[in-house]
């Protein structure tokens, strides 16, 4: 079976490589992808039509904005699928043990049968387990870094139509910053900042922002995602409306992507209980 699989792979790979000989030369300006009106049109007209310097972003969020909306919907679906498949309720023991750490010495105390210490305690902090120690250096450095990471992520989102970047990348970086928080501290810390419901709302709000912009275009008399239709509403020229529409859309993407990243990590690391994780 394995040999068959390898043989099939080799056969297919060989065929694909063989056909490469039939391709137009790499970078040949006369080859169809470069010569055909599509690429030419994008290179020559993007700035006039959308006032967006980054052609990639313009194609992504405007010319083929519909694809991108569905890519975002894919992300949304992934989060929803993880929720649907992984989320569990009622599997936790009725009274879990709580582990507290003495902040000064690092000694761990396990309180059985759900007993707790005061959350306001300055000397003891609740931790997820005694295996993963609370590390002062890591947590402090991460706490220092995370705001900068998030700032950078916002920059990537907002500056997407001028420089490389956009909603996807920015959203992922934003999500990654929260994952860093979860890893450097523990899941509980993240959970307190971002309850599941809020994340879910954020997730949906992002994609609704995207499709809502598209739908609003329809309501204002354009086709779906025809940003020009929103020009009068926003008080800008149609070309400028494209640029602004792209910005809105990118923000929506970023929200959804960020929420998805956090949610998936949460569900995986807490085994679906959304309680205590790695």
């Amino acid at each position: 079976m394995k040999i068959l699989a390898i043989a099939l792979c080799l056969l297919l790979g060989g065929a694909l490589v063989f056909v490469v000989g039939d391709f137009p030369d790499w970078g040949d300006p006369m080859s169809p992808p470069n010569d055909y009106r599509l690429s030419k049109h994008f290179i020559e007209n993007t700035m006039e039509e959308t006032s967006v310097p980054n052609i990639v972003t313009a194609v992504l969020a405007d010319y083929r904005g519909f694809d991108t909306m569905f890519e975002t919907a894919v992300i949304f679906t992934a989060a929803l699928a993880c929720f649907f498949l992984l989320r569990t309720w009622g599997r936790r023991p009725s009274k879990p043990d709580n582990v507290y750490m003495h902040l000064l010495t690092g000694v761990h105390v396990r309180l059985k049968h759900g007993k707790t210490l005061s959350p306001q305690s300055r000397t003891f902090a609740r931790v997820e387990s005694e295996i993963l120690r609370y590390d002062l250096v890591t947590s402090t450095v991460c706490r220092l870094m995370i705001p900068f990471i998030q700032l950078f992520a916002l920059y990537v989102v907002a500056h997407g139509h001028h420089s490389p970047g956009g909603g996807f990348q920015g959203g992922v970086i934003l999500g990654a910053s929260f994952l860093l928080l979860a890893i450097s501290h523990d899941l509980r810390t993240l959970r307190e900042r971002f309850p599941e419901v809020k994340l879910m709302y954020l997730l949906i709000a992002g994609i609704v922002l995207y499709s809502g912009v598209g739908f609003a275009c329809m309501i204002y008399g354009g086709n779906f995602l025809e940003y020009e239709a929103l020009g009068p509403l926003m008080g800008v020229t149609p070309v400028m409306a494209h640029s602004l529409g792209i910005l809105f859309v990118e923000i929506g993407v970023a929200m959804t992507v960020m929420a998805t990243m956090i949610l998936i990590y949460n569900y995986i690391s807490s085994l679906g209980t959304y309680e205590r994780g790695l």
Binding site: D22, P33, E226
Partner: protein, 522 residues
């Protein structure tokens, strides 16, 4: 004008509906169902109105420019009678299924109804989008949505559902990757992603090596996704172990939509000139389809579980459609498209009946079906009707598509393609095997448990089985769809008119330019 927005509305309505349902699942679960039905109903209405519009202006297709960009530059929808029909069927089928399965969802996914409905709507969006789109890459994106939500829906099932869905995920991803690779190769050759535009360029370049590779990659990918016989192994497990509301959504929809994609690729993108340019390939495909029909019918014989048997029949039906499409004549193509319509309805009936049975019986293993006729007479009556359609008995719709396919096979055979006769033979054989398959189920449900002893008059004493019918909503939906089988059958000529309005221009080289003009405007 709202009527110009139908193509977008029928995608947007379920998509936005999915988001709203997802929010509602956190606000108050009891509104989820209503919202889901409302949004899907909106999509259904717009797809039906779209169908009416398209038929009125055939053969010129309706073009919808998303974002207002002209076709080769932006994404455009491209609706002719062919996909308008499939759209209407898919949306109706999913709407009926959604309205029906509510109680089953509550039973099988307690606490997660909201996300079930949201995923349901997303799956429908994906499939509808694949049908309506006129852009090869957009199709891939929607394929992803459809597949992803499908994995989630199927994965949340009984014992081994997750594992068998993992297999589905692997195969589905491979299939999708093949498709994407093929589209990439096409882009290298043509520099365009718009289907009609690609076709226009391909008529100039002809069948170069790259185009042929792209064609084979796309076809292989699509064939994997639709589970044609040698590539079918993932399907039976995935559908069998899934929960009944999920499988009654996915089963009528996915394979049919993939067959549509195959036909669309054959006719619109590669055009009949290139698709049927190599008789050995065409012949091979017909033989392959025949092998699929017979092979899966035989595999179905070995199944000991009702749902597994149905899945094998489902794969055999895929063979019907693929074979019909590759016969290379109008009748066969009409039969294939007609069978998309009919098979969607028939599969829905069969899987809804399975859902009804699963609601009351311990499992769907044959041993647990004993006494089902006494226990749930209405369900079984409609199941019989569905089975009769599957076997292909008039006036149920299953007969008519088989009629066209057989006729197409005979015509292809007369035109010198021996595979045509083989295809006819395998169709007949599979109908006969279907008789055996279904009557085996009927026998178990009708005769067993066997009588114990004899009464005063010499009649066997049969154990008393109290009637315990599935909830009225489930049985009601089942009844509706079962009756629809007959209605569809009686309206075959109208459906065929619509299909021919869609298929004939695509098969007719002289009309290609008209469509090209209508879509690209140049």
């Amino acid at each position: 004008m709202i009527s110009q927005q139908y193509p977008a509305l029928l995608i947007i309505a379920p998509l936005l509906g999915a988001f709203v349902v997802a929010v509602l699942s956190w606000v108050d679960k009891k509104y989820c169902f209503g919202m889901a039905v409302a949004s899907l109903a909106a999509a259904t209405v717009s797809s039906i109105l779209l169908l009416i519009d398209v038929v009125a202006q055939a053969p010129e297709p309706i073009v919808y420019k998303l974002g207002g960009w002209d076709p080769p530059f932006g994404i455009s929808y491209y609706v002719d009678s062919l996909n308008a029909l499939v759209l209407a069927v898919i949306s109706c089928v999913t709407l009926v299924n959604l309205g029906t399965v509510r109680t089953a969802v509550n039973k099988e996914h307690p606490g997660k109804e909201g996300s079930f409905y949201a995923l349901y709507l997303l799956a429908v969006t994906g499939h509808l989008g694949m049908v309506v789109t006129g852009d090869a890459f957009n199709l891939y994106v929607l394929l992803e949505i459809a597949a992803l939500s499908g994995y989630a829906l199927l994965g949340m099932g009984h014992r081994r559902a997750a594992f068998s869905t993992l297999n589905y995920l692997f195969m589905g991803t491979i299939g999708a990757s093949f498709y994407l690779l093929g589209v990439g190769y096409l882009y290298i050759q043509t520099g365009s992603l718009n289907m009609v535009d690609i076709a226009g360029i391909l008529t100039q370049t002809g069948a170069t090596m790259t185009v042929l590779t792209a064609m084979s990659l796309i076809f292989i990918g699509v064939l994997i996704k639709m589970a044609l016989f040698p590539m079918h192994a993932w399907l039976p497990n995935a559908y069998t172990h899934a929960s009944s509301p999920a499988s009654s959504l996915i089963a009528p929809m996915t394979t049919k939509v993939m067959v549509y994609v195959l036909i669309r690729m054959m006719l619109t993108v590669f055009t009949p000139d290139i698709t049927f340019s190599m008789p050995p390939v065409t012949e091979t495909m017909v033989w392959l389809a025949s092998a699929a029909i017979v092979g899966c019918a035989l595999l179905a014989l070995s199944a000991r579980n009702l749902k597994r048997m149905l899945t094998y029949i489902l794969i055999a039906e895929v063979g019907y459609m693929v074979g019909g499409a590759w016969l290379g004549n109008t009748t066969g193509m009409t039969g294939a498209v007609l069978h998309i319509v009919n098979d969607a309805a028939m599969t829905l009936v069969m899987f809804l009946a399975a859902a009804c049975m699963a609601y009351r019986l311990k499992s769907l293993d044959f041993d647990d079906l004993k006494g089902a006729f006494s226990k749930m007479p209405f369900t079984m009556a409609f199941f019989v009707l569905g089975a009769v359609a599957m076997i292909g008995v008039p006036p149920t719709c299953g007969f008519f598509s088989k009629w066209y396919l057989l006729l197409g096979g005979v015509q292809a055979g007369n035109a010198g393609m021996f595979g045509g006769y083989v295809f006819c033979g395998s169709l007949i054989l599979s109908s006969l095997i279907n008789v055996v398959l279904f009557f085996r189920v009927f026998e178990i449900a009708h005769f067993e448990p066997l009588a114990q002893g004899v009464d005063d008059h010499g009649h066997p004493i049969r154990p008393k089985i109290p009637m315990e019918e599935a909830p009225p909503t489930l049985v009601g939906g089942l009844a509706l769809t079962a009756v629809a089988l007959v209605v569809l059958g009686l309206f075959t000529s109208d459906i065929v008119d619509v299909i021919e309005a869609g298929v004939l221009p695509l098969l007719d080289p002289s009309l290609t330019d008209t469509i090209f003009l209508a879509v690209t405007g140049s």
